[in-house]
Amino acid sequence: MPWTKFLIDKTEPGFDEHADQEDRKLTFSEAMREGLDQSLARDENVYVMGQGVDDPSGMFGITVDLHKQYGSERVFDTPLSENGLTGIAVGSAIAGMRPVYLHNRPDFLMLAMDQIINHAAKWSYMFGGQSTVPLVIMAVIGRGWGSAAQHSQSLHGLFMHIPGLRLVMPSTAYDAKGLLTASIADNNPVIFIMHRWLFKHSSFVPEELYSIPLGKGVVRRKGKDVTIVAISYMVIEAMRAAEELEKDGYDVEIIDSRTLLPLDEEIILDSIKKTGRLIVADTDWVTAGASAEISAMVADKGFEYLKMPIKRVGWPNSHVPGSYVLEEAFYPGVDDIVSSVKEIVK
């Protein structure tokens, strides 16, 4: 959609976890496209569908021209029938296919909740593991240009609540491709949520198909004063905050959760053992969301390591506003992270 063009150009430069490997950099969307391409090539049971996957903009570049390569049987546009098509994808997965169903926004997944939660998530369990649902459902979080309440939601907190789902939220091009491979390979329904503002971010991406295991977080930056667990786009904000804080002598450790179901509890607890302080930064409401769950997990399993109360940086108790001035007030960022750190590190 045209207004998102404004956002592409606004996207801040990211960081590169393999900065030493200069040779092969791809943007987030190029990495995703490459991953889909290679997965389609590797396994003929993989197919890709979604509203606009074969259009000239190719789902923000993720699917561009894949239909030309693999034909319209395997890469195809869908009618706007999210619930029905999710069920159809689930059915085909039960029968051995590996569907990848793309959506422009998590907001639109709300039409498909019955099939996702009542069916896909429970299918294996209800039948004693005899039948599985290897399905990937993707959506892209919107932000800015007045996208407003119905086109900017993240909603992963809702999915994190549901047993039987996987929940993946990559923040770099390298991770996007590797986690995509793992998601397609997984025998369970995977909700794969990307942030629109990450799409121009580029990092080293190996050419061959590779996989990053679901449930393994990564330390993006080592530090000893405070642990920031950051989700999706908030990784970028946290990295910038850390640079700023460094000037004032704060030594920040940043963990990118990468996946929320399963959650890498060990990497978080290990870090808190060292720092004694936790901030969780999320692209969603704090109330009963991923940041609440991570905080509760740490209070539960790592209470003895904590020297200070846990802080959360996430969405306030409001819907995403249309007006840009209110957007500024709504979205937390570098400043909020910096002040949270200064509050608990003295």
């Binding site: 045209p2 404004f6 706007l80 409001s318």
Partner: protein
């Protein structure tokens, strides 16, 4: 269909409503690049006559639900122009107080009940309002505008069934502009006659040509008479072409997705131009009246943009205001 079936005042009013929608859309498009309207706009250029002819047959109190492409619906129902342009400028004086933007227009004073940017989201709401009218016996009818792609959503079918069973006073208006973003209707629907769906629920259906104001007006009139007569819902499919891209100004990728013969056919038939010629030929309008009408509209549009530009932005400390009623 015959122009003599419509009285002169109605014909002139229709002209002015359609021209006003057209001019507002063109002005928004012209100024969009200045980035003062930081909101995703979905222009209804080419489709203006549909909203105008439907609303011409409604009372001020009748209810309308709109969608993401809602500027025409809002204006045709009598929505306040200043408040709409201010909303597009994300201002506190906007019709949704700057919280909604282009896709969330509302003017309760004229029965414009709101608009959802979730495709098909407004359909059951309109049926619910019709249900309330049936309970209250207030004699009002409810109208919902939606696109061809919304007809693919299950909720339309569920809503039509319920409305038919309960004989609710609701008019379903499907604006078939052939496209859903870049996808042509034929790639999404095997049966492209959308009225086949309501027929299956026993709902009377009408088809109108959105390029032909007389046809669209008279068909709307028939459909609305049925609904108002207490016979239950009706469904009208109005065809018109989306002249621009899905959102924003222009249609940059047009060559990559449009069917060219279709483009030529539909772009060469401007609903407003055609209607203007018809009115001139029938001596309903003169060049002089046309000039007067259009210059008044221009003045009004200038004022609306001035109003929007001079209006205050929402206050940051009022972010959570309106969360609860």
């Amino acid at each position: 269909m015959d122009i003599t079936e419509i009285d002169k005042a109605t014909l002139i009013n229709l002209y002015s409503v359609i021209s006003r929608i057209r001019k507002v859309q063109l002005r928004i498009e012209e100024l969009y690049h200045q980035d003062n309207m930081k909101t995703p706009v979905h222009l209804c250029l080419g489709q203006e006559a549909i909203a105008a002819t439907i609303c011409e047959n409604l009372t001020k109190q009748d209810y309308v639900f709109s969608n993401h492409r809602g500027h025409g619906h809002y204006l045709a129902k009598g929505g306040d122009l200043n408040a709409m342009i201010a909303e597009l400028h994300c201002k506190e004086t906007g019709c949704s107080k700057g919280r909604g933007g282009s896709m969330h227009l509302i003017d309760l004073s004229v029965g414009l009940m709101g608009s959802s940017s979730i495709v098909s989201g407004g359909i059951p709401l309109a049926v619910g309002v019709a249900f309330s009218s049936a309970c209250k016996k207030d004699g009002l009818i409810s109208v919902v505008f939606f696109g061809d792609a919304a007809s693919e959503e299950g909720v339309l079918h569920e809503s039509m069934n319920f409305a038919a069973v309960k004989k609710l006073p609701v008019l379903f208006v499907c604006e078939n502009n052939f496209y859903s973003v870049f996808s042509h209707q034929t790639t999404r629907q095997l049966v492209t006659d959308i009225t086949a769906r309501p027929k299956a629920f026993g709902i009377p259906t009408y088809k109108a040509d959105g390029r032909d104001v007389i046809d669209a007006y008279l068909k709307s009139k028939q459909a609305i008479e049925v609904v108002r007569g207490g016979q239950g819902p009706a469904f009208i499919e109005c065809k018109a072409y989306r002249w621009r891209g899905h959102a924003g100004a222009g249609d940059e990728l047009k060559d990559k997705y449009r069917k060219l013969d279709e483009w030529d056919e539909w772009m060469n038939c401007c609903p407003l131009q055609k209607y203007e010629t018809l009115l001139l030929d029938n001596n309903i309008l003169t060049d002089k009246i046309i000039d007067t009408v259009n210059s008044q509209i221009d003045v009004e549009i200038n004022k609306a943009f001035d109003f929007a530009n001079e209006s205050p932005l929402p206050r940051k400390d009022e972010l959570e205001k309106y969360l609860y009623g």
